[in-house]
């Protein structure tokens, strides 16, 4: 077991132990915080596939997070009012079932990632950053100006959606769902990194010319990575909407994209557990500093600046030392 693996195992146990402690100490709000950490970490795991493995600096992942959120909001709001989404060409009804919502969220955000990726990956570097940011903003303005689903005010869902055999309104049971999904997603990301596809993607990040020389197309590798990445972030969006029982255009805002990226950077870019550490620290800072000062974003900004300028491996990088990402 390498040092990073030991740290990872410790982190997974900590994420599990904290809400269990809160459960027995009867602190439901702490369980909700842990759930939030798990969901935001999931969004980060998604982005990390594009950013860490593929080297694609996407500043528009809020688009997928928001699409996942709205997939949940739209389906559940139709189920709430018993008003079918479409009657023609065939009947589509709303649903309150989490698994179906997840599938819809993953498919729609994957489709959006395919479209955005196909266009933005024609460019690279700073163009790519600006274009993904702009497409994210496009969804934001669309959500604001489309009044059917609440427009600027967003959309409230009164009862959390259901999962067969579980009571999702019980915080610890909902946490269990998000924890299992996060672990599955991280397992998938680790497998992906070691698969032939992941190795090729990693190679395309380091040296696109060589990858081309051996007969593979970096564009196609990156597009597939971008779509997978968007799907996972979309799933996180659906869960986040279910946590809050509320969706609003804020999920699409560029700050959301920036924050998802910040989780990865705080934790350590390309590290499997980086997003989890980053999300946990972010939520802890928000909770602790937010209680001390209304202006806690200043401290976050200073911290982030110091990490970028002086501690480039993030938290896991400083603890586990330099090494191969995902090892």
């Amino acid at each position: 077991m390498t040092r990073e693996r030991k740290i990872n195992a410790g982190l997974a146990l900590a994420l599990l132990a904290f809400p269990l402690w809160a459960y027995f100490a009867n602190e439901p709000f702490m369980i909700t915080l842990a759930t939030k950490v798990a969901i935001l970490a999931l969004a980060g795991v998604g982005l990390n596939i594009a950013l860490g493995q593929g080297g694609l600096v996407s500043l528009g992942h809020a688009a997928f997070f928001g699409i996942g959120g709205y997939a949940m909001g739209i389906l559940a709001s139709h189920a709430q009012t018993f008003d079918p989404i479409a009657e023609w060409p065939f009947l589509i009804e709303g649903t309150k079932s989490m698994p179906i919502i997840w599938i819809v969220a993953v498919l729609t955000s994957g489709l959006a990632a395919l479209l955005i990726g196909a266009l933005s990956l024609r460019t690279s570097g700073v163009y790519f950053i600006m274009i993904t940011l702009a497409f994210g903003q496009m969804f934001y303005y669309f959500a604001i100006s489309w009044p059917t689903y609440g427009g600027e005010d967003g959309l409230s869902i009164y009862v959390r959606n259901g999962f067969p055999g579980l009571n999702t309104l019980d915080p610890i049971q909902f946490f269990a769902i998000t924890f299992v999904i996060l672990m599955l997603a991280m397992g998938f990301a680790a497998m992906l990194a070691k698969s032939p596809f992941g190795l090729a993607l990693n190679a395309a990040r380091q040296s696109p010319q060589r990858v081309e020389t051996v007969g593979m197309t970096p564009y196609r590798l990156r597009l597939v990575a971008f779509v997978i990445s968007g799907m996972i972030t979309g799933l996180a969006g659906a869960l986040f909407a279910d946590l809050n029982r509320f969706v609003s255009p804020t999920m699409f805002s560029w700050q959301t994209s920036g924050e998802i990226m910040v989780f990865i950077i705080i934790g350590g870019i390309g590290r499997l557990y980086g997003p989890l550490v980053g999300a946990a620290l972010f939520i802890a800072l928000e909770h602790i500093l937010g209680g001390l000062s209304d202006y806690w974003h200043i401290y976050l900004g200073v911290l982030l600046l110091l990490i970028v300028l002086f501690a480039r491996g993030g938290v896991i990088g400083s603890l586990a030392g330099r090494g191969h990402a995902h090892d």
């Binding site: 700073v126 163009y127 274009i131 200073v302």
Partner: protein
């Protein structure tokens, strides 16, 4: 739809476009010369607006307010360049994005801390308020017309600066080969600070000018910043000409789209749903324009490199 309404909207689009130009000119210069992507450019826009509102509140003079905006944004730009940005030139774009994202957080919350969360107001001075009558009987606000004039004057000034002055020669040389001009004895780090402060001053000016027709509030810079990115993607990175043409294209598309899309949808839908679908699609129009430019010319209309 009357001719007068159309002409007014074209002028509005032009006004919006030249203000975007002030933002994107600085951004594209900084990228072209230093290879740096600066997300905090929107914060400099905001700083200009706040400085103008504060000085106008104290002195009542609009000219002083504009000068304060220029000075405050240029000073903030130079300070940030020396303290932070300078360390980022050799880093990859991800580090630049994150560090400048951190700067946005610091600037936005800092401004909120000093000025509070409530928007400030900057009034149009008396001698620039009220409408003027243009040929063709179009009544148009004098202030907005002044904005178009200032924007075009700045554009001409920038062209002259880049093509005719010593500083312009150094900027162009810096774009094509930074080692070489350093070897020729140009103080490159001073040049970078000057270019960054110049871009910042233009953003601050835009913030102050736009601040008089909107409210001055925290977070006002970022929507404009993202539009400036769209402009740069369309025009091509590093090209002032591209920034000007891209700005005007985006300004006109956005303004005229808001006018025409609902009318277009009304041809085959009932009025209320046409207004809904039309305005929703109009809000996406500039991004669709950007996508089309990307498909046809991935490096932008006037971009040298992708």
């Amino acid at each position: 739809m009357s001719f007068i309404l159309f002409a007014e909207q074209v002028l509005n689009g032009l006004q919006f476009g030249v203000m975007l130009f002030l933002m994107s000119a600085g951004l594209t210069l900084v990228f072209g010369v230093m290879g740096l992507i600066n997300l905090a450019h929107g914060s400099l826009f905001m700083i200009g607006a706040f400085a103008a509102a504060a000085v106008a509140g104290l002195t009542g003079s609009f000219v002083l307010a504009l000068m304060a905006a220029l000075a405050a944004a240029a000073a903030a730009g130079a300070l940030v360049e020396v303290l932070v940005i300078r360390r980022l030139y050799d880093r990859d774009h991800l580090d630049q994005v994150l560090a400048t994202f951190a700067l946005i957080l610091i600037f936005s919350e800092g401004t909120r801390w000093i000025f509070g969360s409530f928007p400030l107001f900057l009034n149009i001075p008396d001698y620039l308020s009220g409408p003027v009558t243009l040929p063709g009987g179009i009544q148009y606000p004098l202030y907005r017309l002044t904005l178009i004039g200032i924007g075009l004057a700045v554009a001409v000034g920038l062209f002259l600066l880049i093509s005719r002055t010593r500083l312009g020669i150094q900027i162009r040389a810096g774009e094509s080969d930074r080692e070489m001009i350093a070897a020729l004895g140009v103080d490159i780090s001073k040049l970078y600070t000057i270019v960054f402060a110049l871009g910042a001053a233009l953003a601050g000016l835009a913030g102050a000018l736009v601040g008089a027709i909107q409210s001055v509030q925290v977070g006002m810079g970022e929507p404009v910043l993202i539009l400036a990115f769209v402009v740069i993607v369309i025009g091509g990175i590093g090209s002032i000409k591209g920034a000007l043409i891209g700005s005007i294209l985006v300004g006109l598309t956005d303004t005229l789209g808001g006018l025409f899309m609902p009318a277009l949808f009304a041809l085959f839908m009932d009025n209320s749903s046409a207004a809904t679908a039309g305005s929703a699609l109009a809000s996406m129009l500039i991004y669709i324009l950007m996508a089309v430019v990307l498909i046809v010319k991935p490096s932008g209309l006037f971009g040298a490199r992708a």
